[in-house]
């Protein structure tokens, strides 16, 4: 039996819980984002129009939450799929988690940097 193997794979509860929390955030934030971008604010997709929308601090906050929740939900889902296949040992799973965190934080940094002119 692989009791030792199983007992070294601790954790999982937080990634499971946050997958659900980010799912709810995605539904709410995506709805707000789409409504304000494509229904209430129909106009040219140019810099001035986007700047006018993002001048609203609430909408910028929604966009940042959407960005964070989207990245977490997507990469955590990818991690779940990959861990079914090759990333089965503890070392491989840990490496995968670290790589995905680095990729996720890089995306988050880039997205926040793109929104920064309107935040500041």
């Amino acid at each position: 039996m692989r009791a030792e193997v199983i007992s070294t794979h601790r954790g999982g509860v937080w990634s499971w819980l946050f997958q659900r929390i980010t799912a709810v955030l995605l539904i709410v934030c995506l709805a707000i984002h789409l409504i304000f971008t494509h229904i209430l604010n129909i106009g040219e997709l140019d810099s001035a129009n986007v700047a006018a929308r993002l001048a609203n601090a609430g909408l910028t906050a929604v966009d940042i939450i959407l960005l964070a929740a989207g990245i977490y939900h997507a990469l955590n889902g990818l991690r779940m799929v990959l861990m079914d296949y090759w990333f089965t040992s503890r070392t491989r799973a840990l490496t995968l988690t670290i790589v995905l965190w680095v990729v996720g934080l890089a995306f988050m940094g880039y997205g926040t940097w793109a929104l920064w002119p309107w935040i500041s």
Binding site: M1, R2, A3, V5, I6, S7, H9, R10, G11, G12, V13, W14, S15, W16, L17, M80, M83, D84, Y85, T88, A93
Partner: protein
């Protein structure tokens, strides 16, 4: 006296001359309308080939020995009446995705090792009462579903997560963890939680629900596993599971 054709998957990996899997057909005669698949297999064993191997024991669908893949579905051979299959051809194969021993007999060692790993017994820390451990009907009702598991292995054989991952505990073991986790008399939650609350435990379940479809006792292991996931969160955030 009606006849019915049985197509049985035969394989003897130990037979050097013919180790490959192959199908063999047998005509089974029976009287009345109460032939079960298991009785059909007895007939084949008596009349055609005494070497046909299969597991059975209670013949009343409570021991879980005769789980097989019959006419494209997981069934217990003893509780499957051929009349209810509504066909003239009965195909019988061993439970797939498990190591084969011979013919319809599969190796259940790994299955039972995982079952044992989950500590499937009542764990008590406080001193026992003099007479008995009282359990209210409401508390008993919580274990109604999981307590009916007969460990036939159908859910484990049907689970895609278990096919791809040898270390995944599987639906049966996790349903048993759920059974003790919801039991008001059990106090072993802390010992048990590390064994199921991990990436090779409950979090490898992706709610595919093959186990629910496969279970001959019509249980719902997926529900039990989801309950455990919520219990893990409750333990982490509130410090209690029940």
């Amino acid at each position: 006296m009606p006849d019915i054709k049985f197509r049985v998957k035969r394989q003897d990996p130990g037979d050097k001359k013919n180790p490959e899997a192959h199908w063999e057909e047998y005509i089974v005669h029976y009287e009345g309308d109460n032939l079960t698949v298991l009785e059909g297999l007895f007939y084949i064993q008596e009349k055609y080939d005494g070497g046909l191997s299969f597991r059975y024991c209670c013949r009343a669908s409570i021991c879980g020995s005769c789980g097989m893949y019959i006419n494209g579905a997981y069934r217990l051979a003893c509780q499957t009446n051929v009349k209810h299959l509504d066909t003239d051809l009965i195909t019988v194969a061993p439970m797939p995705h498990l190591p084969l021993v011979k013919d319809l007999v599969v190796d259940m060692d790994e299955f039972f090792a995982k079952y044992e790993y989950i500590m499937p017994w009542l764990i008590r820390h406080s001193s026992d009462p003099e007479k008995e451990l009282i359990q209210s009907p409401k508390e008993r009702k919580k274990i109604d579903m999981p307590v009916d598991c007969i460990l036939c292995g159908c859910c484990y054989s049907s689970c895609p997560s278990a096919w791809g991952e040898d270390n995944y505990l599987g639906p049966a073991a996790l349903l048993k963890a759920h059974r003790f986790e919801v039991d008001s008399r059990d106090e072993g939650g802390k010992e048990r939680i590390a064994r199921w609350n991990n990436e090779r435990g409950v979090y490898r379940c992706h709610t595919i629900m093959n186990c629910v479809e496969a279970c001959p006792k019509e249980l719902n292991p997926t529900e039990g596993i989801q309950w455990l996931k919520r219990a893990a969160v409750r333990r982490k955030l509130l410090g209690k599971a029940k």
